[in-house]
């Protein structure tokens, strides 16, 4: 338990720094801006209660907001995503449920499962985020285009990070 808390705290700090210091400087065409930090929320354990999940998502979002001066937009998107997470997990759950002591990651559940699960989570987050950011529906299609393109980029990064950072762990 303590071990788990430590692991996720380290992941939290690492992802915030990675997001703020490196990824926010990537803005291809002014459209594509990957938000890898939501990987923290995606990878929290299955057993975590929904209220704690939302609280953590809120803290995560507000810390990113602090650095980007977006004030609550990331937090709102993160909380929304955290709330929908349990439904998405239920939708994708295997016939006999998830094994205990595992987390939603590529190494436990395979590429197909993880790809579909994380894609939906990323899409939900980006959809909420970009539409709150734009705050109007007149630019619906250009905003939607940004959602799609950024989502693809974020998903790509998430999959790569799974292979680079988390796959290496269980080999030890």
């Amino acid at each position: 338990m303590i071990n788990n808390i430590l692991k996720h705290s380290v992941r939290f700090v690492f992802l915030v720094l990675l997001q703020v210091l490196i990824l926010n400087n990537i803005q291809l065409n002014g459209f594509i801006n990957p938000y890898l930090y939501i990987l923290f929320i995606i990878m929290l354990p299955f057993e975590i209660p929904v209220w704690l999940l939302m609280l953590l998502a809120f803290v995560m979002g507000i810390s990113i907001d602090m650095f980007l001066n977006t004030m609550g937009i990331h937090a709102a998107a993160c909380v929304f995503m955290a709330y929908t997470r349990s439904y998405v997990l239920n939708f994708f759950s295997p016939r006999d449920g998830y094994e205990s002591n595992t987390e939603p990651s590529l190494e436990y559940l395979g590429l197909t499962w993880f790809l579909s699960y994380s894609s939906i989570m990323v899409f939900i987050h980006h959809f909420v985020f970009f539409f709150i950011e734009a705050f109007r529906l007149t630019e619906f299609f250009s905003t939607f285009f940004r959602v799609i393109v950024s989502s693809v980029f974020t998903i790509l990064l998430i999959i790569i990070s799974q292979y680079v950072a988390f796959k290496g762990k269980d080999k030890r």
């Binding site: 939302m54 907001d65 602090m66 609550g72 709102a76 909380v79 709330y83």
Partner: protein, 278 residues
Amino acid sequence: MINLFRFLWKHINFIFFLLLEIFCVYLIVSNNSFQKARFVSSSNYLAGNIYSTITSIREYFYLKETNDAFALENTRLHNLTRDVFARNSTLVYLVKDSVFKQQYKYINAKIINNSVNKRNNYLTLNRGSSSGIGPEMAVISSNGIVGITKDVSENFTSVLSVLNKNAKISAKIKKNNYFGSLSWDGSDYRLGTFIDIPTHVNIAVGDTVVTNAFSDIFPENILIGKIESFDIKPGDNFYTIIVRFSTNFKNVTHVYVVTNIMKEERKKLEQQSQQNDK
């Protein structure tokens, strides 16, 4: 009533979700109307500190460019100082602009090859004749002398380092102007040998040794180093002085090549008088 609480408890997650979202929306909206909510923005303590640390780290990656810029600036300023102008006194009262006539010109360059461990050391500079460098010009760093240019190609210059058997620098002790000759004995790259100071001269450890105006290469009063120790060999009328170079030959990177504009004139005159003597 019980049913109400049961209902609420059943949907506690959704209520919590709504509360959080309402708070977020409040933040977003208040941010729009009040510019910035004070307690979470990048002006706060934590984010501000992290950003300033990052900036100070990032500055390191631009040190090279900054250095180059400073070297360039220094060169420009050197070209404006009084030392590069020789007094042209005959015209003092006639034309104001000619009170000082420029005698030295500084060109900045970077050392791209260097050694200190051979008996005869040479340096290579990244500038050549296209920048106005010719043979037999002084090379100095901001700390003191470095060497004398030897061979010049279009874009590169080979410099005879002071740490070379063939380098004999005409030098003087700054406080009393007694002059001698400075060379390098090939052992320690930090120490040079300064000879030809008569034993009756009063010198002390720590005295400054600078170039003198006898050579047509180095401008006067360029720092060479400080006296580290001295002794008199038996039966000798001159000191043997060990000088600690002010230039650290092992890490010098930016140098100035000094052109003496009046060198030809002076050389011609000196040759002429020597020929007349014969």
